[in-house]
Amino acid sequence: MDAQANIGVFLCRCGDHIAPLIDLDALQKDIHKQANVVHSEICPFPCLKPGLEHINQMVVRKGLNRIIIAGCEGRLMLKKFEKELHLLDLHKGQIDMVNLRGHVAAVSALSPPENAVKAAKLLKASIAEMRVLAPSPQILAKIDGPVMVIGDGIAAFAAARELSRHNIEFFLATNTIEPEKVLRKIHHTYPGERQYYNRLEGIIREAVESPLATVLPFVKLAGLSGVTGDYTLTFEADWRELPRKYRAAAVIACLDAEMTPPGPEFGHDGQQVMIQPELEERFYQNGIPPGRTVFWLNDYEIEQPDFAQLSAVAAWNMARYIREHASKSQVVILYNQKLTIPLSAADRALNRKLGILWIPYDNAVRPTIQAGFITFCNLADHVEHELDWDYVVMSPVRVLGGESLRVAKILGLIHSEGRFITGHHAKVRPEMIGREETYLAGSARYPCDLHEALNQGQTAGLKTYQMIKKAAEGKLYVPRVICVVDPDKCVGCGQCQELCDCGGIGVEDGPGGGLPRVVDPMICTGGGTCAAACPYHALVLQNNSNDQREARVAALSRQMAQGEVVAIGCVWGGLPAADNAGKLGLTYDARVHILGVPCVGQIDPCVMARAFLEGAPGLILVGCIPGECHHSFGVDHAWSRVNVMKKLLTLAGFNRQRIALAHADLNKPAEFVKTVESFTQIIAGLGLIERNPANLEKLASIYELIKYNTRVRHLLSASLRRPWEASYRGEQRHALDYDRDFSAVIEEEFLQQRLLRLLEGERRPLRLQELAVSLKEDEVQVADCLWNLVTDGSINLSHQKREAFYSLIN
C-alpha cells in the first residue's frame, strides 16, 4: 500500500435531507482544494448499490486508499461500507464518515452556504486525520496447537470432551481424573445433583481416555505468558523436578466457586446445623439423617438473593432424595416469601406425593435458630411460630476463593476481589470483544447449577474449536483497532496493565521476570485508555492512534472562530445523542462542532492541550453516564485528564471553564442539547484566547508539558482509577493534600517547561532577570526552578563578568 494518502471524499445528497440544506457545490469546491484529496464528488446516495458501485470504480480508477463519506451516522453505515470496500484492500480505519445530516443539516437554522462552511470544517478535520493514518496490514491470526484445559471444575471434562470430539489435541490439567473420585467430590461445589452422576461418568471417561488428551495430574499453575495462539503455561516445580512449561494455542479455564458456611449468627456447627454440601457429605458418611430435617433457604439473609433459586433447587433435590430413600424421615423447606418456588408442574405433583412441606415466612422478621427450634413469622397470621428440628440445612455462601481465585489471577481474569468473574468485560459490540466464554466456564464465572456448568464447558470447547478452525481456514483476522506496544519506547512500568480492563495486556518473559509489554490482539477491545495513559507514548491504538486524533482535533481547532466549541462525543453516549438530536430535528447552537471517538477515555490530555494551542476557544468531552461507560472506566479517566487540564489552564492564567466533561444518554437527545448549549454560552462569554506571543508561549508549554513530561504523565497515570477501585480519587491519602501535592508538581514542572522553551527559542545564554521578565514570573520562583534544572543537569550554568548565565545543554 502507498504511504501517500489518496483521499476520496463522497458527499451525499441524501434525497432532501442534505442537498437543500447545505450548499454542496460550494462545499465540494472547498474540499477539492485540500491536500491529498485526489477525488471528490457529490453522489445522490453513496450508500445504495449504484453509489457503492461508483465508489468502487473510483477507488480503482484513482487509486484511492482513504475514503471519507459525508452523509449520515457512521455508527450505522460504516459496517456496510467496510464490507463493500473490503475487497479493494480498504479496511476498518481507512473509511471515515462525517455525519452532515445529523450534525449540520438537521440541527442548525443556518443558511445553506453557512452550513457548507460548518460542514467544511468538520470534513477538513476528517481529511487531516486520514492524512496521518498509517494503516496496518491485515494480519491473519495464527492459532494452532494443543489447547490447555485447566482447573478443577467439572466443566473441564465437558470442554475436553468437546475438543476430543472435534479432533483437537489438548492438555487436561486437573487434580483428579478417576471418575469415581471426581464424583465423590462434586457435591462440594454442586450439591443436590446426584441424579445426574451416572451421566457424568461417561463425560469424564470420554475426556480422559481420548487419544488426543495429555493428562497433567497434580500440577499447580504458576504463570502464563504470551498471547492467544501462543501461550506458555508454567506449572509449579515439584520437589523432584524443574518447573514444567507447556505451549498452548488457547486456554480454557474451568473454575468453580467455593461454598462456605454463613456467619456465627446462623449457628452453623457442621453437625446438626449445616450447609447443603455438608448434608451431601453426611449422606456418604452416615447415610440419611433420621428425624426431621429443616431446609432453611436463607439466601436473602446472607445477602445473596440472586442465588436463592439455585439453593432452592438443590434443597428440593436433597429433600426428594431423603424422602425417596427414608420414608420415616421428615422434611420441611422454609423459604423467604420473596422466593418463587422453582418447581415445574410435574415436580409439584411429585412433591405432594412425597409430602415435602414448603413453608414461606415473612421477609420482615428474620428467623432465628434456637436449640431444637427454629422460629419464623407465619405469612398468613403474622404470628411467630416455632418449628422443631433434628437437623437444619442452610444455603451456602458462594464466594470465589482459594485455588480458583489464584488460577484466575494468574490467567488475568480477576478484576475485583471476591466478586465473580462475569460481567467484567467491556460492554461493546461483539466484533470488538475478546472471547470471554471460550476461556472461562464453571461456577466461578457466576454461580450456576451443574447443567449450566457443563453447558459452559461444552460451549467453551466448541468456540475454541471454531476459532481454531477459522484460523486454519485462513479466515480469522487480527482485529484492526487494537493496542500495540512499541518495544523501543516501552520501559515496562506496568501502568497500562493496571489500567486495562479487558485484560489484553500480558507479560513477556524476560530476564528478571515478566514485563507487561505485549498486547493480546484477540482480547483487546480497543478502549484505548491504556494508550492515553502511557507516560512514554509506547502504547499505540493501531488505526485509531493518538496522532490521528490530535491531527483531527488540531485541524478543527485551527478553524474555530469566536464562541465556537469543539465537542468530542463518545460513540456510546455523546455521539449517538447528537445523532438522535439530528434525527429528531432538534436545533441547537450551530457553533457546536461534534467529533466522534470510540471512548472519551482514549483522549490523551495532549490532544486537549493541542486544541487550545491551535485556537479552540472551548472544548467539551461528552461521554457516557458514569457507571454506564462501555469501556468500564473511560469516562472516569477522562475526568482525571480534564481535571489536570483545568489545573494547567488556571496556572497559565486562562479560565478553567474552557474545558469540561459532560455526560449524555443517547436516548435523551434533548438533554444533550441542553448540555452543549449551556457550554457554548459559557465559551461565547469568555471569548477567544488572544493569539499573542505570551499566550501562545503558555499554550505551547502546556502542550509540551502534558505530551512529553514523563513525571507529570506518570503521576496522572497513577492517579487514574484502577478497575478494582471503587472511585477514581486517590483514596489512600487525604483528598485535599493529594490534590495540593499534585498541583504543586504540575506548577513546578510547568515553570520548568516554560524556561526550557524560552532557552530553546533564544538559543543564547540568558540571565535570571531576563528570564523572569520574559515569562512575567516571580524572580525568586524562577531562580528556584533554574537551580533545580541545573542540579538535574538539564541546563548549563556559566559565569561571565560575575553574572550567572543559563543556557541549554547542546
Binding site: 449504484p50 455526560h663 436516548n667
Partner: protein
C-alpha cells in the same frame, strides 16, 4: 446494464439493483419507512409500492425488494399507487396514532385522517422490525426481536425484561422510523443508574 423505464423515463441500472435504489439514484422520491440503507430490505411497511405495467395489465410491487429487469415499466405516481399509498397511510395512522413521524410523512402525501378504528391511541410502533434487523446485521447481536404474533406482535427483548445482551449502542433508536424505539429502548437496556447530565464544576 439493464435498461428500463421509470415514469416513462429511460433509466439504466446494474445487476441486482432494486427499483427503489435505482429511483433514488435518479432523484425520484418514493416514500418508505421500514427501509434503511444499512440493512437488507425486508418489504414490511409496503409504503414503497410502485406499479409495474405491461401492456394492458398492471401490478403493484414493493420497490425496495423488487430487483430491476430489462424493459419493465415502473410508475411511481399513478392513481393506483397513490390510492394504495393513501390506504397504507390510513392504516398506519390507525395502527400508530401517536407517532409524530408517521403523521408528518402522511401529511406530506396529503393524508391527515384515518377511517379505521384506533385501538391504542398511544401506540407509536408499527412493528416493521427494522430495529431488530439493525441489531442483528449492524451490531451483530439479537438483543431485540419481534415477539408474539398477529395483533399482539410487538418489539421487545426476550421475556419483556432488560437483557444483558443489549450493549446499549442505540442503533435501534437511531433507525426507528416512527420514534417508538425511544420508549422501548429503556426497557431493553434497563434504565441507566444515574439520571444526570451536568457539567463538572
Amino acid at each position: 446494464m439493464i435498461e428500463f423505464n421509470i415514469n416513462d423515463r429511460k433509466v439504466r441500472a446494474g445487476q441486482g439493483w432494486t427499483i427503489l435504489e435505482t429511483a433514488r439514484h435518479y432523484g425520484l422520491d418514493i416514500p418508505a419507512l421500514c427501509y434503511h440503507e444499512s440493512v437488507a430490505p425486508s418489504g414490511a411497511c409496503r409504503l414503497c409500492m410502485v406499479e409495474l405495467r405491461e401492456g394492458s395489465w398492471s401490478r403493484l410491487v414493493a420497490s425496495c425488494i423488487y430487483p430491476v429487469q430489462q424493459g419493465i415499466n415502473v410508475y411511481t405516481e399513478t392513481e393506483r399507487v397513490q390510492n394504495i399509498r393513501r390506504w397504507i397511510f390510513e392504516m398506519l395512522l390507525a395502527a400508530c396514532p401517536a407517532s409524530q413521524e408517521i403523521k408528518e410523512l402522511a401529511a406530506r402525501y396529503g393524508v391527515v385522517s384515518t377511517r379505521f378504528p384506533i385501538h391504542d391511541p398511544d401506540q407509536t410502533c408499527m412493528v416493521c422490525g427494522l430495529c431488530s434487523r439493525v441489531c442483528e446485521e449492524v451490531v451483530g447481536l439479537s438483543a431485540i426481536s419481534t415477539v408474539d404474533r398477529g395483533v399482539h406482535k410487538k418489539v421487545s427483548s426476550p421475556f419483556l425484561r432488560p437483557t444483558d445482551i443489549c450493549v446499549a449502542c442505540g442503533c435501534c433508536v437511531s433507525v426507528c422510523p416512527t420514534g417508538a424505539m425511544q420508549a422501548i429502548f429503556d426497557s431493553v437496556r434497563g434504565e441507566p443508574v444515574m439520571q444526570l447530565t451536568q457539567l463538572t464544576a
